[in-house]
């Protein structure tokens, strides 16, 4: 009950923060030219702007400036506003069914926005720029180093080129898990925290990222994994957390929140809040998403972009 009261308050604070601290939505320059002169699939000016953000000491301001100069249709901006309202509603939901319904509406909005060619070109360009290295190098047979997988390692997955079951805020990876040894994976799915066979992760067409916590020893991570299994269970008793910004709660967990919790137990924060992800999510959903999603939540993409994680293998099954 305490948590239910706490969630709307958190959502209100996040939105307040977004409105008051966020760089103002005034564009400083002309809108971005989305022509792709070198035909690499990424608008040339977008590459220049992203490199400018990478060098900028104030990345948030640089991201805000870029996002406001994206030549989206007014309808797309309106849909992003609507998405902000839906996210705020998600904070107040009382049951899983209602949460799933709102997430469904957000998914529909994201599809509607893709009808704007400038929007689609921008999102595809940014996704291509920030995709894991292995992807950019192309698909190789047996490129996932399953043989190096150890208990406690971090596992990330994207199902297919177009992830059909996408976590709506996924830039590249849509799901996270934790290798528990004995060919089992400890993960949180919509039916709660539980163990599943490794073979689910090894199906063809899935892009896999394997990594480890480079701040702690394997033994320390294994003990944190044991702690998590004891604390959250392996029997689905800890249900799924549809309110992604509330990563601090222990009563509900989403997939990357579970991974984050395991390593937080060791004092390692795997929520990178990486500027690449923030730029992507701001372009995808609107500036509000940086404050309402990226900063408070921990997405699978924010885990692999964290400096405390060494991604030792990425590739397609």
């Amino acid at each position: 009950m305490r948590l239910r009261m706490w969630r709307p308050a958190l959502a209100f604070l996040v939105l307040l923060l977004a409105l008051t601290i966020a760089p103002t939505a005034q564009a400083d320059g002309p809108s971005i030219d989305l022509r792709d002169g070198n035909r690499d699939g990424i608008p040339d000016a977008l590459v220049i702007e992203v490199n400018r953000i990478a060098r900028s000491p104030d990345k948030m301001a640089a991201i805000a400036d870029l996002v406001n100069r994206l030549p989206y249709a007014p309808e797309t901006r309106a849909l992003q506003e609507k998405a902000a309202q839906l996210q705020a509603r998600l904070a107040k939901v009382q049951d899983d069914r209602e949460a799933q319904q709102i997430l469904g509406e957000l998914r529909v909005l994201s599809e509607q926005m893709m009808a704007d060619p400038n929007y689609a070109q921008t999102i595809q360009g940014l996704t291509a720029m920030f995709a894991p290295q292995g992807l950019r190098e192309g698909r190789g047979l047996d490129s996932v180093r399953w043989g190096d997988l150890r208990r406690g390692h971090i596992m990330l997955v994207r199902s297919g080129l177009w992830d059909w079951f996408m976590f709506i805020y996924a830039m590249w990876y849509s799901h996270a898990g934790n290798y528990d040894g004995n060919n089992l994976v400890y993960e949180s799915s919509t039916d709660g925290v539980r163990l599943k066979p490794l073979s689910r992760w090894q199906q063809p067409g899935q892009y896999i990222g394997l990594g480890y916590d480079n701040k702690r020893t394997e033994a320390q991570v294994r003990s944190a994994l044991d702690w998590a299994k004891d604390f959250y269970g392996t029997d689905g008793r800890t249900p799924y957390n549809y309110f992604y910004p509330d990563k601090w709660t222990d009563s509900r967990l989403y997939c990357s929140q579970l991974t984050w919790k395991i390593h937080s137990h060791l004092g390692v924060n795997l929520d990178s809040n990486a500027w690449q992800y923030q730029l992507w999510i701001a372009a995808r959903w609107g500036w509000w998403a940086v404050y309402a999603v990226s900063l408070p939540a921990v997405a699978p993409d924010e885990v692999w972009l964290d400096g405390d994680v060494t991604m030792y293998s990425t590739g397609w099954n």
Partner: protein, 367 residues
């Protein structure tokens, strides 16, 4: 003129339209191919394909829900049972029951993730569900009424039990799951349920490097194909565990060839498809097929192309059939294949997108 045009249009429609009702002259029973494993493709091609084993033609394609469909089971009355288990991020609890001609009879919701097999005995269906991974559940359904008769929870003390596979004959229902062990290896536990009394008769740990995804009942015994045997010392390998359901439970190891995954038994021969990389951290690209004479123990193996993943194997009249699908080639190479032991070659028999499971009548026509 317009009448002729209309007539032509009607004729064209009649020729191309796939009828909802099957024709009266179907082979009985038809062969079945399940398409249900392409998680990365969003299960867009999920289907139950009914085919004519004589002509090798598709009789009917029934679209299935876009959810992980790992198993295809045909009961003694000829009904087809399919369990669904969601995707990477969510579970499912549906089991669909189709008539032998592909009409949906009923959708059941017995338990979470019915992905560990559906077996039949004593007029009942035994649906094995992975549930939460700490413990599994077998829901017993009366086959005539489709009512739930009993819920059986399976668990082991102080360890998880992730149910993987099951099979039954009139004397026993065997359900196998993965559990924890002291070393980085796979460990399995066998559960024996009496199909008459519905009581759990015995539970038996199968030991280190055991991982069973296919159980084959044959002449009073159960042959457990152990894909985990790849890591075993060949001198003590238990590629197949032969279980006789008696008290005490008799489990006899049988060395064939490493890592059997899918298989079938026909005319005293055990045929198996081997894939050491399945559900494992082993990165071995070799795949092969074996035939074991259950009388003499003689084993013959044939090598398949590297990384050629089969998702099921069935044998009829000595012909080895394999289901195969690929993500990266579109549907070009998806379908039913025949492996010819004489030439060691694979022959593409029937194109079916995302083909992942086979059930065929025992009497396969000769060509």
């Amino acid at each position: 003129m317009w009448r002729i045009g209309l007539l032509l249009l009607i004729l064209l429609f009649a020729c191309t339209y796939s009828p909802a009702m099957p024709p009266a002259s179907w082979p009985s029973p038809p062969g079945y191919v399940l398409s249900g494993q392409n998680v990365a493709g969003g299960f867009a091609s999920n289907a139950l394909t009914l085919f004519d084993p004589h002509r090798l033609t598709v009789l009917r394609t029934v679209s299935l829900p876009h959810s992980w469909a790992k198993n295809l089971a045909v009961d003694p009355e000829g009904n087809v049972w399919i369990g669904y288990s969601g995707n990477m991020r969510r579970s499912d609890n549906r089991v669909e029951v189709y008539s032998s001609q592909g009409e949906l009879r009923q959708t059941l919701q017995p338990c979470m993730d019915p992905e560990a097999g559906i077996a039949f005995a004593a007029g009942r269906a035994f649906i094995a569900c992975a549930e939460d991974g700490l413990r599994g559940r077998v829901v017993v359904i009366h086959r005539r009424t489709l009512e739930v008769e009993k819920d059986l929870w399976l668990q082991v003390s102080d360890a998880p039990l992730v149910l993987i596979s099951s099979a039954a004959d009139e004397s026993a229902v065997l359900v196998v799951g993965l559990t924890r062990g002291p070393e980085e290896a796979s460990y399995s536990v066998l559960n024996w349920i009496d199909p008459q009394t519905l009581a759990l008769v015995a539970q038996h740990p199968l030991g280190k490097n055991t991982d069973i995804w296919r159980i084959l009942p044959y002449q009073g015994r159960f042959y457990l194909l152990n894909v985990g045997s790849y890591r075993q010392n060949r001198a003590q390998a238990n590629d197949v565990l032969v279980v006789t359901p008696s008290l005490p439970l008799e489990v006899v190891p049988l060395a064939t060839s490493p890592a059997p995954l899918w298989g079938d038994i026909a005319d005293g021969f055990l045929y198996a498809y081997h894939n050491p990389a399945w559900n494992s951290t082993v990165t071995e690209p070799r795949r092969w097929i074996s035939r074991t004479d259950l009388q003499s123990g003689r084993v013959v193996t044939w090598t398949l192309p590297q990384d050629w993943d089969a998702s099921d194997l069935a044998v009829v009249n000595g012909q080895i059939l394999l289901a195969h699908w690929e993500y990266w080639s579109g549907d070009r190479y998806d379908g039913l294949y025949r492996f010819d032991p004489e030439s060691g070659r694979l022959t593409f028999l029937l194109p079916i997108p995302d083909a992942s499971g086979i059930k065929v009548p025992r009497t396969w026509p000769s060509h």
